[in-house]
Amino acid sequence: MNINVELTDKKAAVNGEVRMSTKDLSLYYGSFQALRDISLDIPENAITAVIGPSGCGKSTFLRLFNRMNDLITGVKVEGRVELDGINIYDKDIDVVELRKKVGMVFQKPNPFPMSVFENVAYGPRRHGRKNRTELVDIVEKSLKQAALWEEVEDKLEQSALALSGGQQQRLCIARVLAVEPEVILMDEPCSALDPIATLRIEDLMRNLSESYTIVIVTHNMQQAARVSDMSAFFMMEEDRAGILVEYGPTAEIFTNPKDKRTEDYITGRFG
């Protein structure tokens, strides 16, 4: 399998500031080590893709950045995860504030069983925005940013569950945008969508990467090649702990991988 990387669409070089990073990071579920010694820098206003075979800890890794793993009992984190140089696993970190800055879009579209409007207004409302005109503005702006406005403009009061899968996922992106995050995490955001809806989300991601730092986990090699600026290839070792094999500009990872295992994976020899 030969993947054609659209080099022209990539940011010439990702020289921007480092927005988030992990340093010697290990994560355990009880006594099972799920991630081992991962050090990686996420550049600002770019798309970083995390790829690798099933079970190598990609999603677990992504969920470190907004501390979503905290919800699972028995998780232990060693090392540092930084946002703008601050370790977000420090004791005095306000997780709620962190999640406002680092939003997340999930694998399965999960709009709330409310109207389209209320879905987008949900975050701002929880953060104390009560003024109706202000909320109307936020909702419109967020839906426009998520390239959904034209399709739902006249159905704002209808149930979000009546939207198509692709629309629901863009609504979930709008919901995250409404709280004005700085980083957006996406956990296989297109795996439940058809190819056309997938392309729309990818276009949207490209546009959003102008002003947001995006980290995406994907199973889909072509998708990583199409949308991302940087790619991180994860694998598991014999004890099933996930490790970072190779990390670099997407164009290099896909055309000239340094590690034999990366090459084997992206050319379809395993996984």
């Binding site: 907004n66 979503m68 919800l71 009992t73 709620v96 504030e97 962190l98 999640r99 406002k100 800055k101 939003g103 997340m104 879009v105 999930f106 399965k108 999960n110 709009p111 709330f112 069983p113 949900y122 975050g123 929880r126 953060h127 149930s159 569950l161 009546a162 979930c172 919901r175 995250v176 409404a178 709280v179």
Partner: protein, 287 residues
């Protein structure tokens, strides 16, 4: 070949027959009971029967104070059992860690439902009537029935909360909501139909309880309607028990009439619970 088919068909017929008989055994008594109550007690149901107080030790007049007492009792029970049950359900499903202590509590709650109701009555007598000096009263009886109803409201609340899809919680937390905001704005509204269903069923059970209220505040005859929670009260099941077992020369129609009213009260609450559940389900799938 032909004989084999016939024997297989025969055994099929026998199996169907047995299943049908078993189903009939389940259904026939229910139908007979309901018909018996309606046929024998139907004549007693008049406007006066439903709106007048009893006279001549219940042989004449109506049963209004007992109907009212039963509604007060249901109301008092649910006012206590619903909020406490929901809050405990939230705690157990959202906050409590999965350790031996929580598991013990969960097991205790499940077993609470199996405690004989007269034991609750005795508990209520000791705690509410005597220790708290609430006396034989509507309050004592409501609290006693609430203790019994808690087993149901806690369990149904917890189940309803656990049934809310995890994706909703994650979606809410991921935009920087606190855990409590997530529970308050996402989890509880979603769980509400299930919680209400449990509460309505708990009320219908409270309406039918006889043994506990017998010793904590129900009276067979009172000259006046209860004016405060500290008054004694009349209630349908206890009234039925007394007119059926303790008053000689009681007209049969009256006894079955009381039973019919009690049955209607309890069944209508069960039907209400079913309607709430079905409507919630329809709403979930139609959107």
């Amino acid at each position: 070949m032909k004989t084999q088919m016939t024997s297989r068909q025969m055994s099929q017929q026998v199996a169907f027959g047995l299943l049908l008989v078993a189903t009939a055994i389940v259904i026939v008594p229910v139908i007979v009971i309901i018909l018996q109550i309606i046929i024998t007690g139907g004549d007693a149901i008049t406007w006066d029967f439903l709106t007048q107080p009893p006279t001549q030790a219940g042989k004449a007049g109506g049963i209004f104070p007992a109907i009212l007492g039963t509604f007060y009792l249901m109301l008092g029970t649910i006012i206590v059992a619903l909020p406490v049950g929901v809050l405990a359900g939230v705690y157990l499903s959202e906050y409590a860690r999965d350790n031996w202590f929580t598991r013990t509590i969960n097991m205790a709650i499940v077993n609470l439902a199996g405690v004989p109701s007269i034991v609750y009555g005795l508990f209520g007598l000791g705690i509410f009537v005597l220790a708290f000096h609430f006396g034989m009263s509507l309050l004592s009886a409501s609290l006693t029935l609430a203790c019994q109803a808690l087993a149901m409201t806690v369990t149904t609340s917890r189940e309803a909360i656990l049934a809310v899809p995890g994706g909703y919680r994650e979606g809410s937390l991921a935009v920087g909501s606190t855990k409590w905001q997530t529970i308050r704005h996402i989890v509880l509204p979603q769980a509400m139909p299930g919680i209400i269903t449990g509460a309505v069923l708990a009320m219908s059970r409270a309406a039918g309880e006889t043994a506990p209220i017998l010793i904590v505040g129900a009276a067979f005859f009172l000259p006046a309607l209860p004016q405060s929670p500290f008054d004694q009260f009349m209630a349908l099941p206890y009234h039925l028990y007394t007119v059926a077992a303790h008053i000689p020369g009681m007209p049969k129609t009256t006894i079955w009439g009381v039973a019919l009213v009690l049955l209607v009260v309890v069944l209508s609450f069960n039907v209400l619970a079913t309607i709430i559940r079905l409507r919630a389900r329809k709403r979930r799938y139609s959107t």
